[in-house]
């Protein structure tokens, strides 16, 4: 075999060369590079730009100011989102639910649709879609471009730098800070991004804990519930700030769980050494504002919205079906809610929320619309809704709050919903991505079930303490 001959010669030569081949080669490359660069690069004067970058880095990655600045920036972005989303949200729901919906209904009637067809299509599919658009679009259209601007400016690697030593202490890879940041956009994207981590052990940790980053689908849930239940605890002028603060707390809690679970995993199932790496802090680049707005609208907002719609339509149909099919004298939905209520109560939640999370496994985006639909149906609140499984017309967040309160919601329900939204199984897309990346059923199951168990534990503890103290 000629290949063996080559390998034999190579082995002989390796013995002759002895140690240090790799280092000598690397040295050779470096000195060649230095020579070539010296021949053709001329630097004039002082590097002002670099000094600016360095000074800015000194502040944003400083031990004292790094974290406060990070939290401040994130809070500011969220505050803008909460303040800005309210108005367009109201407009959209007025248009889609109060104007178009009745028009479609009467159209269906005049064409002579049977009640079940118009119920299935309009009360189920259309209303779910309209809801997703009205509730999700405005916060996304504000949050994503802002986040993308930060990303393009070059802030993300600084966040990674700040968090690096915490990850190291948790026995994880510092680059996990980057994949975690990606997870704040989309967990499936975050899981794919873990490919930048070399060691399989640290990569698995990064994959399993990625779900603790609040994703696209969950930010709007957090923001909405916070504005309805927590913002209203204080006078209107502070409402935005307090809502933003509570959402930040949940996001930070997620980061805390990322560290905690990383630490536990690296001490138990995934023991091993921490590997080191070089993190390059890229230069700050002024983002090109309009282009960023455009691409983040196309790339993120519309794609996420599209995904939400794709999942919302069938979910709307399912909700309508389970609220209209009956077992004995109760509808399927009612039967499920009643049976889940006990378990829900123990967790400080209720049957509606648990059922909504089961219906919404395909996409986190539709949790809130589902909850609203099921609440109205099960509580049969007078004055809203036109029948079983029909979503109703509400103009504002306050009205949403009224509905939920009428459905028996308390502050505890809201807080625990926010916690449970952070700590539950990843959406089906992410689960599938985890399987594709790890090619292991075992780790996919761990990554899916672990957050859910944590969610049950945390909600249970909060509920018990809350009921004793208050």
């Amino acid at each position: 075999m000629k290949t063996n001959k080559i390998l034999n010669i190579s082995n002989d030569l390796r013995w002759q060369i002895g140690e240090g081949f790799h280092d000598k080669l690397t040295e050779g490359i470096y000195s060649d590079a230095a020579q070539i660069a010296q021949n053709s690069v001329h630097k004039k004067g002082q590097q002002k730009r670099f000094r600016f970058d360095r000074n800015l880095d000194k502040i944003v990655t400083s031990k004292i100011w790094g974290f406060p600045i990070m939290i401040f920036i994130l809070s500011f972005v969220l505050w803008l989102t909460i303040i800005g989303a309210n108005y367009p949200s109201g407009l959209l729901s007025e248009l889609l639910l109060q104007n178009i919906y009745p028009w479609l209904k009467s159209l269906a009637e005049s064409i002579g649709f049977p009640w079940w067809l118009s119920g299935f299509l309009l009360d189920g599919v259309y209303l779910a879609l309209a809801w997703v658009v009205a509730v999700m679009l405005p916060p996304m259209a504000i949050f994503f471009p802002l986040f993308t601007l930060l990303e393009d400016f070059g802030y993300l690697p600084r966040v990674a730098f700040n968090l690096d030593h915490l990850f190291k202490k948790s026995g994880a890879h510092g680059k996990q800070a980057l994949t975690m940041s990606m997870g704040f956009g989309c967990n499936a994207a975050g899981v794919i991004a873990t490919r930048i981590i070399d060691s399989p052990r640290e990569r698995l940790i990064a994959i399993i804990t990625n779900n603790f980053s609040l994703c696209n689908g969950r930010w709007p849930t957090q923001i909405l519930i916070a504005s309805i239940f927590i913002g209203t605890l204080v006078p209107a002028s502070f409402a935005g700030a307090l809502s933003a603060f509570s959402v930040i707390s949940i996001a930070l809690l997620g980061i805390f769980f990322t560290f905690l679970v990383s630490l536990i995993l690296s001490k138990t199932l995934l023991k091993g050494e921490v590997s080191s790496f070089t993190l390059e802090l890229p230069p700050y680049r002024p983002p090109r504002f309009w282009k960023t707005i455009y691409t983040s609208l196309i790339d993120r907002t519309l794609i996420v919205l599209w995904r939400a719609c794709v999942f919302a339509a069938p979910a709307g149909a399912v909700i309508w079906l389970i609220s209209n099919l009956t077992i004995g004298d109760a509808t399927v939905a009612n039967w499920l809610i009643v049976h889940l209520d006990g378990f829900g109560f123990i967790l400080g939640l209720n049957g509606v929320i648990l059922l909504a999370y089961i219906v919404a496994i395909p996409a986190n985006e539709i949790v809130i619309p589902t909850i609203l639909m099921l609440t109205v149906m099960s509580a049969s609140i007078a004055g809203v809704g036109a029948g079983n499984g029909v979503m109703f017309e509400i103009e504002s967040a306050t009205a949403t709050g009224e509905i939920l309160k009428a459905g028996g919601w308390t502050l505890l329900t809201a807080v625990n919903l926010m916690l449970f939204s952070l700590l539950h199984n990843p959406c089906s897309t992410t689960i599938y991505t985890i399987y594709k990346e790890t090619k292991s059923v075992k780790w996919t199951v761990v990554a899916s079930v672990l957050p859910l168990i944590l969610g049950f534990i945390v909600c249970f503890i909060v509920a018990q303490v809350w009921r004793i103290v208050i």
Partner: protein, 256 residues
């Protein structure tokens, strides 16, 4: 009737209607394959978007692209397939994203390798350039982020650089599409063989090592005369790279 005259732009060979046609993801029946390599965060994805008209999201952090993205364009009746590789600092290590880049340049046999470097950090970027030039004979250096280098008062003598590296050098600012027409033309010239490259080989290595490399690489060439990158394979074999040893065993790198 007014006489229609072509404007200077329209008759120029760089003009879109005559030259570049962005094909997006339509990459069937391509004539040439171009690999896009470079350090992380040098704007490879921006160059990729400028050439293909695709809108792959670009970001200001190293590691944005972890998988291969593919797109196409056509120029002078030739169709090009462009493959955007993950950014790497070196081809000598083994993380998954670096392997994607290395394996494609080595085993994917692109017709041209377009190396994108950050003009304001040339020296650091050259380490990867020199490694790529060990693998392939057909390469173009895209000296990107020239706008940034200018702001930092850094001047680069492209001719000296091109002479030292033995490959054509094209300065660009891909963000504002400056230099893209020249880049397309140069890629075309290298792909068609109009421009011949004489890539730099790593010089500063001790004599006894160099002798060993030469001996092994001539041995490889003797067995496989068609192989274009015997020296690189020799270097990797001597370094004990498992992946390359495996490739030698299976004969993966041999054309036909």
């Amino acid at each position: 009737m007014q006489k229609v005259t072509k404007s200077a732009c329209e008759s120029c060979e760089h003009h879109n209607t005559l030259g570049l046609k962005k094909l997006g993801i339509n990459i069937e029946n391509n004539d040439y394959v171009v690999a896009l390599a470079g350090n992380p965060n040098t704007g490879k994805s921006t160059v990729f978007n400028a050439l293909t008209g695709l809108k792959q999201h670009t970001g200001n952090w190293p590691g944005k692209t972890v998988t291969r993205a593919e797109g196409g364009y056509s120029y002078s009746d030739k169709k090009y397939k462009l493959v955007d590789l993950p950014g790497t600092y070196s081809l000598l290590s083994t993380s998954q994203d670096e392997e994607v880049a290395r394996n494609f340049i080595l085993f994917g046999k692109p017709d041209v390798t377009l190396i994108v470097v950050d003009a304001s950090r040339l020296e650091r970027n050259l380490n990867l350039v020199l490694q790529i030039l060990e693998i392939t004979n057909k390469a173009v250096l895209c000296l990107n982020l020239m706008d940034e280098a200018k702001r930092m008062d850094i001047e680069i003598d492209e001719r000296t650089l091109a002479r030292d590296l033995g490959i054509p050098v094209v300065p660009t600012s891909a963000r504002s599409k400056e230099g893209i027409p020249e880049l397309i033309k140069t890629i075309h010239q290298v792909a068609t063989g109009e421009l011949k490259c004489k890539p730099h080989r790593i010089k500063n290595i001790p004599k006894h090592i160099n002798n060993a490399v030469e001996k092994l690489s001539s041995e490889i060439e003797k067995e496989y005369p068609t192989i274009p990158n015997s020296r690189w394979i020799a270097l990797r074999l001597l370094d004990g790279d498992e992946r390359i040893i495996e490739a030698v065993k299976t004969g993966e790198f041999i054309t036909e």
